[in-house]
Symmetry: C2
Subunit: 520 residues, 2 copies
């Protein structure tokens, strides 16, 4: 196949005048985008950055963010999109651990830069993105571009060289830098093209943050077909307005946000029929929540399962499989995460790494050209994750006889109650179908008799007041008795979330286990 950094070059050669990027009032053709990328690549190299040096970025979604993606690949630098929600302590860790040489940042991140990055050892270059006032020692992005000697021909790169490093949100231990190679990201872009059947006519809205692969795979997908990327700093109403105005055909949303977006009066009022794919994922989405969302949106829902370590998608469930009112089999399929995408292998294995029979639950492992090369400078963590050539996701699931993957839980979210495995998502799915429930999380709490007791934390819908008895009765007959929560807790405030919109079960669970030495 082509090297990753030929992707934009090809688009500029074959689709020079097609619109590559739309950011607010700014519309850039592929030719203009390539010119800016060549300039940025030339400027970065002229600063003295060398092959594989880490270049971090702290910005909301912007055309400059995209330019930096392409320019680093073009110049064979390792691009490091940093989670914009990091606390100063975390950012300090990430910059030190990665040994970042340069950082790009925009105005909202200037205080963070000044607190953390300014003095960081090894960080020799800082570039400000459209800053109203530049701190001393910070270069101006546009001035750099204007003065740069463009690097017109990409640096030759091996498929195995690192293109991008993403620090995982790290639910346990310190964050780890996931190293994705040129080959990984090319396969990732192409995988998106094929799995979503993208064509030149498609446009992608980067609604979620560009530091996350849920949307950043599309950085490499759209130029393959010559389509358009729209960037916004996510705000649901603005996103809907933009989709309607620009006739956007594809976007991705965290599963946890999908119901809220579907529910907005703005969504109902807007003509968003141009949407062919609304990619969602990030966590097993309870069935009841999904069905309500599907009813309010165009027939475009595309469930995906994937992680940073798999360079985005691992499985995909096409809109045609989102059938919520069909047979039991169709319903099961609609609740699944779909089938392996074209450049991923998926298996479900037991604790000894043996493939389990169809339908049986085990750990999901992934292989193929999208699997990360490893964690940055963490050979032990890499060896632990990449056993026998397979990436061990830590997620529990089952593959049916047709290759559809059903997620049951994070390994650590699994509850063992009275010797029985209880998958919290299964219980959440049932409770979420109750009309009076807005949000639900099911966790295990210490219990002398059961080891762990199944507990549900419920946020009722405004105006509803379901009782524990109501909900337990609602569960009866739908799931086995031992899965029905032993207790229900009700809250009025929304449940805490982690970065990409997943419910932060650890926050709910940890206080109940502190001092007990597990489930942390």
């Amino acid at each position: 196949m082509y090297p990753l950094n030929r992707v934009l070059e090809r688009a500029a050669a074959y689709f020079p005048h097609r619109i590559a990027v739309v950011d607010g009032e700014r519309r850039m053709s592929y030719r203009v985008l390539a010119d800016r990328v060549h300039r940025l690549a030339g400027a970065l190299l002229s600063l003295g950055l060398g092959r594989g040096d880490r270049v971090a970025i702290l910005d909301w979604n912007s055309h400059r963010y995209l330019e930096a993606y392409y320019a680093c690949a073009h110049a064979n630098l390792a691009f490091m999109p940093v989670n914009s929600r990091l606390a100063p302590r975390e950012l300090r860790y990430v910059l030190q651990d990665s040994d970042a040489r340069a950082i790009l940042f925009s105005e909202p991140f200037r205080p963070l830069y000044e607190e953390v990055a300014k003095g960081a050892a090894g960080l020799s270059h800082a570039i400000g993105l459209a800053l109203p006032q530049r701190p001393a020692g910070v270069l101006d992005y546009e001035a750099l571009l204007a003065e740069a000697r463009p690097l017109a021909v990409p640096e030759p790169a091996d498929a195995g060289e690192i293109a991008q490093i993403y620090y995982t949100s790290g639910t346990t231990g310190e964050p780890k830098g996931v190293c994705l190679t040129h080959g990984n990201m090319y396969a990732g872009g192409l995988d998106g093209v094929v799995a979503l059947a993208m064509t030149r006519e498609d446009s992608w809205l980067h609604a979620g943050p560009l530091f996350h692969l849920a949307t950043s795979f599309a950085v490499w997908a759209l130029p393959i077909v010559g389509g358009t990327q729209h960037v916004i700093h996510f705000e649901p109403k603005r996103a809907i307005e933009l989709i309607a105005r620009e006739r956007v055909t594809m976007t991705s949303l965290p599963g946890a946000i999908l119901p809220m977006v579907a529910d907005m009066p703005e969504t109902r009022a807007a003509d968003i029929s141009s949407l062919r794919r609304i990619v969602y994922g990030g966590s097993p989405t309870p069935m009841g929540v999904l069905r309500k969302a599907a009813a309010a949106l165009p027939p475009a829902l595309n469930h995906v399962y994937g992680i940073t370590e798999t360079a985005g998608f691992a499985t995909s469930l096409a809109p045609a499989d989102h059938v919520f009112d069909g047979s039991e089999a169709q319903l099961r399929r609609a609740a699944s995460a779909g089938q392996a995408t074209p450049f991923i292998d998926v298996r479900v294995v037991d604790d000894d790494g043996r493939v389990v029979p169809a339908g049986a639950v085990g750990e999901i492992v992934c292989g193929g050209p999208k699997i990360m090369s490893g964690y940055w400078r963490k050979p032990e963590a890499t060896a632990a994750a990449l056993r026998h050539g397979w990436y061990h996701t830590g997620d529990m699931g089952a593959l049916d006889g047709e290759g559809f993957l059903t997620l049951v839980d994070r390994k650590k979210d699994m509850i063992i109650s009275g010797g029985e495995n209880v998958y919290s998502i299964e219980v959440e799915s049932v409770i979420s179908m109750h009309p009076g429930v807005a949000e639900v999380a099911v966790i295990g709490v210490p219990d002398e008799r059961w080891g762990e007791a199944v507990t549900a934390i419920v946020v009722p819908r405004p105006g509803s007041e379901p009782s524990a008895e109501d909900l337990a009765g609602f569960c009866r007959g739908k799931i086995a008795g031992y899965k029905i929560p032993k207790s229900f807790e009700f809250r009025t405030e929304p449940l805490p979330k982690t970065g990409p919109g997943k419910i932060a079960k650890r926050v709910l669970r940890d206080p109940r286990w502190s001092g007990l030495g597990r489930k942390i």
Copy 2:
């Protein structure tokens, strides 16, 4: 990316029960297909065939033909789909030149086998495909499969090893074996998937012969997405009937056959609205012919340009660009062969290999992962064709500023008249728009004054009798005076065609040049 011989394995793992192949009454799931392929691969190796040995086939389209494609890749043998129209002398040459070790053949080719192949040196194995009576020494395909030890795991293969060899029809000199590697064919399949936006819901009708890349790229495309392949021995009415019955979504047809198929009463009567892509190409198709065909077919026309040496497509013009009643620019685009497909680079160069400006005519050269590794055991011909890393097609064309390629002629079909270049297709396009014209070929004939004189050979439509004056007058104002034919010849019988349906200009031209030492 994946090795070529993982393509079918993945489909069998992730889409085991989806229908892979339909051949008459026979419907095979991916699991059944993979099992037969494993058996055939095991059987071929057990005969003593070794890595890279050539395995020829002579058959109409059949499920066994497809099985042989996959089994040879699986066992790392070089598969050689032989043109079923070859004369005995040509077949003898091909088998000798390739040093084929084994041949598979079906009943219609038994006489040819007995005349030519039986005694061929080096050809140690013959396998009969469903023969009513097997000649001595010929093995039975189904018996081999039944007795085989299946080769369940594909042989590891480098991307650079030869997967398939196609002998070109060879308009000049002896036929040459085009060597396409595992990497070429994988890119070829994937290119088809992306260029045609194939999904799991798609089905492909192998209407044209499986020894031609116009359809055989799809052998590798459909399993990537888990779609279905239909095989028939082409007969227009049967093809239309099958498309309607099976709701086929994609097929390819030679451009020269397209008008005839569009014109059939059966086509008008059938519901073929399931067709999303009717891929056509093989020769520059005159505009008037195309417009008539487009009016009678679903909005699915997809023009492609490609050659065996590019493993299929090089450019593709999507249905949305087939606009025949729009602006001048849209019309020009509709007459083009489209833009470079995702795994092809296209350039137009002058005689010194320099890229010409947008809009200028030159020789079309192609690069990228789909370009053949070379001609079988012909290093000089390979070096001549693959200059500076680019395959020189011998076709003349122009790329516009948006990357759309317009074909103007075969280099050798270009007419030089009074010092001016005349591209025969341009003249044919105009004449073909005349309502009284069924077929037209424009050639150069020796002329003392002009060097070459532009001459049109015309087959009128039944019931029409256009005169030379009519046609010359029709051309006036549409093309420059020096391009208007100096003479018109009228014929009632159809023009002679070469293998894939192109008008055999050489046959029309040669007699007029014999003894004059050029244009042969």
